[in-house]
Amino acid sequence: AQTVTQSQPEMSVQEAETVTLSCTYDTSESNYYLFWYKQPPSRQMILVIRQEAYKQQNATENRFSVNFQKAAKSFSLKISDSQLGDTAMYFCAFSTQGGSEKLVFGKGTKLTVNP
């Protein structure tokens, strides 16, 4: 069974600084997908970034980038130039390849951006 571990229950960062959220996972699959989702106080689940395991290049989306280390089974999220609106729960998630595969989530990291 796949598992996802987020070892930082809470983190805080000053506005405009950079923060990295950690995620490790366990799987025996060779083809899979990794995701970071953001859940602000509004409760909506928002996709931040997605990484295909077969791609060596790390995904980036504006201020968000990942450090994907396949051998180490590590998938960290870097947020640059942190903004107050980045305050949210961040969930790392895993999915195997296939049309009906489920998302397996980590327990989340609560990020607070301080002014």
Binding site: Y33, Q44, S95, S100, K102, L103
Partner: protein, 113 residues
Amino acid sequence: DTAVSQTPKYLVTQMGNDKSIKCEQNLGHDTMYWYKQDSKKFLKIMFSYNNKELIINETVPNRFSPKSPDKAHLNLHINSLELGDSAVYFCASSQGPDRHGYTFGSGTRLTVV
């Protein structure tokens, strides 16, 4: 135009009652899911349907019964509600993680009193 819509957004009910949560997606996705987020924010899959067929049923009490009348709708009916059922329930849809990823509804906060 909301991609995945759930109703109601909030539901407060007494123990022992039966309630339903509805979900509709207009993305043309083949697969729909129900996830439960507990009081510690942990998200766990409950069910998934692919084109109206049940694919995943993750050790959920049989008081929970999903129903998919067509591939755009996945409803969740809960019988004999218990205090422990209080949670946020998310509907999601997908055309596969290799295509569009997963799109979530805004969640239904169920409170059983």
